[in-house]
Symmetry: C2
Subunit: 191 residues, 2 copies
Amino acid sequence: MPAIAPPDPRYSETQRRTIDAAMDLFAEHGVSGTSFQMIADAVGVTKAAIYHQFKTKDAIVLAVAEVGLSPLEDALAEAEQQPTPEAQRELLLTRVVELAVARRRWVNALQGDPVMIRLLGSHDPFVDLMARVYMVLMGIADDGPTERMRIAIISAAIGAAIVHPLVVDMDDDTVRTELLAVTRRLFDLPD
Amino acid sequence: MPAIAPPDPRYSETQRRTIDAAMDLFAEHGVSGTSFQMIADAVGVTKAAIYHQFKTKDAIVLAVAEVGLSPLEDALAEAEQQPTPEAQRELLLTRVVELAVARRRWVNALQGDPVMIRLLGSHDPFVDLMARVYMVLMGIADDGPTERMRIAIISAAIGAAIVHPLVVDMDDDTVRTELLAVTRRLFDLPD
DNA sequence: GTCTATATCGAGATAGAC
DNA sequence: GTCTATCTCGATATAGAC
């Protein structure tokens, strides 16, 4: 096992620089509010150089979504290997909270932006991924409105609370601890 | 007291048509993703006609925010008249949930869009309004991280959960009931 | 992989007639 | 209050040289 995580083989090093810059800009201005020029400026090259890496702006959005969601994929795979539904749910919840807090600024762009939502909703791999996430979070529970609302609130709360004005100036440790405590409580998990 | 709510005197009837159309479009495409032309088409007039009502696009965004937040202002004023902090909090929570669910599609645009967030954060009346809302929701509780996170989660959850994929096809009554139950529970209020 | 240069389109915005 | 016509700029995108 390598000491550091291997780079995502789906994209080259130069592409990753573009993706990282785009992620920052999407988080700050939204997808529609971010132009090719802004991305090129942030990377420090011209628009044409970016177009050499990605044929369209949609391709960049897709790449940002893929790279942004890949830690979630890993966490889900790890969780699904747990023996019981309870253990699966518990591990996934912990990982998701950790990931979300560590990458607060980006999570917002990924789950809140209308362009991103449309893309994620029309791209099967993303739909399947989220379906699996919700399945694990639901666990053995029934599929009634109460349980569905509970999952929705927990998912939404994690994504939206971490960028809330009341929370932006809190350090990651505190946010992670408090968020985990509240979500565990919503799941009726022991403290 | 009139049988129907009086129209907001801040804007004319034609302006209200524009604001309503813009609200729909902002909710669907985001502020940056909505052009003047799209608004004009939705209203059924030309761009120039819209420019006669609002000097800039920012003015429309501001108007949408003002009209969108005015029910919240009313609810807050009503809540602040309650005798005890507990009663204030309880009434505001109930009203906010009702409002949010009734206007689900728009709440998302108001609280999630980067342009809107920037506007709301730089416009004193909005900052003051939200400060008052948080003050009532905090109630007599301390200002520690646990309580701040709790308010952030509840606020975020209300805004984000109502548009969550798991919830979009649920009827308003169910969403309101379940959301109220969960948020009341987070506040340690009796069922 | 990056550049300059250019094409094309739609954006926000204004002028002036009706 | 709405229209047609127009301006200017920045957006996505492409061609072809280095």
